[in-house]
């Protein structure tokens, strides 16, 4: 019957019929089918898994950029004297020092002269009077945020209410924020900085 069919059929179908075994499929054929199926399934799930990991990475990237922006905003809202105090120990210090702090993400910072006076990512302090869902609190940011103050030009003592139009450069402090975190894709960094002048708008 197969022979008569073979006579009527052409192309790949005829080829398959001629090579079809009357004994079913062999173990090797079965294994090959399983391997091919596994590769296809891996391709399907691998791409979905990669997208999931990338979305998680995007979330951390958004959180990092948001936290960095908060630190910069807070620094811009501070006076030069405050930054000079944090960086060089006093409001009118003429030193050219550098100082760093790792910022607190969930609680109010302890110690004197915190660079950022509030929790940076989520305010989960007991005094905040609010609560996030367990699902959120169980998912911490997998890294740290560091703020560094660097004196570019030392504070220049000036009489009050006198505009500085000529002469030496005025005091300038550079604020740099570095967010570092690790996830399943590896290590990541996000950094940004700004320059705060002694004669800036908030002084």
């Amino acid at each position: 019957m197969r022979a008569s069919n073979s006579l009527q059929q052409t192309g790949w179908r005829r080829y398959i019929d001629e090579h079809r075994s009357a004994n079913g499929i062999s173990l090797m054929e079965c294994m090959c089918a399983v391997v091919v199926g596994s590769i296809l399934l891996y391709a399907v799930f691998g791409s979905a898994s990669s997208m999931y990991i990338m979305s998680s990475g995007n979330e951390n990237q958004i959180l990092a950029s948001n936290m960095a922006q908060q630190v910069i905003d807070n620094a811009r809202d501070s006076s030069f004297g405050t930054l000079n105090l944090e960086c060089n120990g006093s409001v009118q210090s003429t030193s050219t020092g550098t100082s760093s702090q790792v910022l607190s993400l969930y609680q109010y910072p302890s110690g004197s002269n915190p660079f950022f006076p509030r929790p940076l990512l989520r305010n989960t302090a007991s005094t905040a009077g609010m609560s996030y869902s367990t699902a959120s609190t169980n998912k911490p940011f997998p890294g740290t945020v560091t703020e560094t103050l660097t004196t570019i030009n030392a504070y220049v003592p000036q009489p009050p209410d006198v505009a500085i139009s000529t002469g030496p450069a005025t005091g300038e402090i550079q604020v740099t924020v570095l967010c570092q975190w690790k996830d399943s894709q590896g290590s990541h960094k996000y950094t940004t900085s700004t320059l705060i002048s002694q004669t800036g708008i908030h002084n």
């Binding site: 979905a48 009077g129 708008i201």
Partner: protein, 319 residues
């Protein structure tokens, strides 16, 4: 099993059916898992986009903002600062935590602001007030005209200066900044229990009939409410059980955010806005897909006014 020319037995057919059934179930399970994963990815991306959009929207508004609350308040004097030329205390306007304030030259008299659909009416006696569920930001109204000598003309390439409301239209008797009021409110989502919407409405500032600057159409800038984001689930106030979204910072008084302005006289000192958000978005196309919602994103935004220290407004132009 040897292949036979006389077809299959019922037993063979049954066994085949059972095996095919098991294989089909496995295949369907794989398909369903893939479908759920895709839905979860969509929701996760949706949540991320919502967080990013709301962060940029509020940050932009607050940075451009002239004041929180209503800048039109009571004129008073600052006893701590004396004008060195006159020896008199320097006069200042104390803002209000509510919009409209009684001294608001545009909405404070007999012209209450339009009532957005579904929002409570805001009047002078019952204004929108800065709170955990309400943020009021006022943006300077800019002129798109250019003046040369005594000529006043419209120039679309000019961004212009912040405009002023003339003293003759001001209840305080002095020229005041012309501002547009943006109100953000957190309201319960009528379609999804336990979730909240962030909505926005704009109330236009004084138009050309008052300021003389005809490039600004107040009615065009009065609209809303628009829903900016849905799926807000927290953080929840431990006392009220409502979302504690907005808080306010006065760098002068304390670094600790407050839920409301403790004294209206202090309003101008509050220049920082904290926006606490916990969002869990789900696709709007199908309510069933809430089941595939991702882990919520909890975060805060902190942004400060920038125009309050820089505001330099222009008086009525030469016509």
């Amino acid at each position: 099993m040897a292949r036979r020319a006389d077809g299959n037995t019922i037993m063979e057919a049954l066994v085949t059916t059972v095996i095919m059934g098991i294989l089909s179930m496995a295949f369907m399970a794989v398909l369903l898992m893939n479908y759920k994963t895709n839905a979860k990815l969509d929701n996760m991306q949706d949540t991320l986009n919502a967080v990013r959009a709301i962060k940029e929207r509020i940050s932009k508004d607050v940075r451009e903002g002239r004041s929180l609350g209503d800048v039109y308040g009571t004129q008073t004097t600052d006893p701590a600062n004396v004008d060195p030329l006159t020896g008199l205390p320097i006069p200042l306007i104390v803002g209000s935590a509510g919009f409209p304030s009684s001294n608001d030259p545009v909405y404070g008299g007999n012209s209450p602001p339009p009532q957005p659909t579904g929002w409570p009416a805001a009047t002078v006696s019952s204004p929108y007030t800065l709170s955990n569920q309400c943020l009021i930001v006022q943006i300077p109204v800019l002129d798109d005209h250019a003046d040369t000598s005594t000529q006043h003309f419209r120039d679309l390439n000019q961004l212009g200066w912040p405009t002023q409301i003339p003293a003759s239209f001001s209840s305080s008797g002095i020229e005041q900044d012309n501002v547009e009021t943006h109100v953000y409110r957190v309201v319960a989502d009528p379609s999804n229990a336990g979730e909240y919407l962030l909505q926005f409405a704009s109330f236009g500032g004084a138009g050309g009939a008052i300021t003389g600057f005809t490039g600004y159409n107040s009615s065009v800038h009065t609209f809303g409410p628009q829903t900016l984001v849905s799926g807000i689930i927290g953080p929840i106030d431990s006392v009220t059980g409502l979302p504690k979204v907005f808080q306010f910072i006065s760098p002068k008084r304390s670094g600790t955010p407050v839920d409301s302005i403790p004294n209206p006289s202090y309003t101008a000192e509050y220049t920082g806005v904290v926006c606490n958000l916990e969002i869990r978005r789900h696709q709007d196309m199908s309510t069933h897909q809430k089941n595939f919602s991702v882990t919520p994103i909890g975060m805060k935004i902190e942004v400060f006014l920038r125009n309050n220290a820089l505001a330099t407004s222009a008086g009525a132009p030469s016509q």
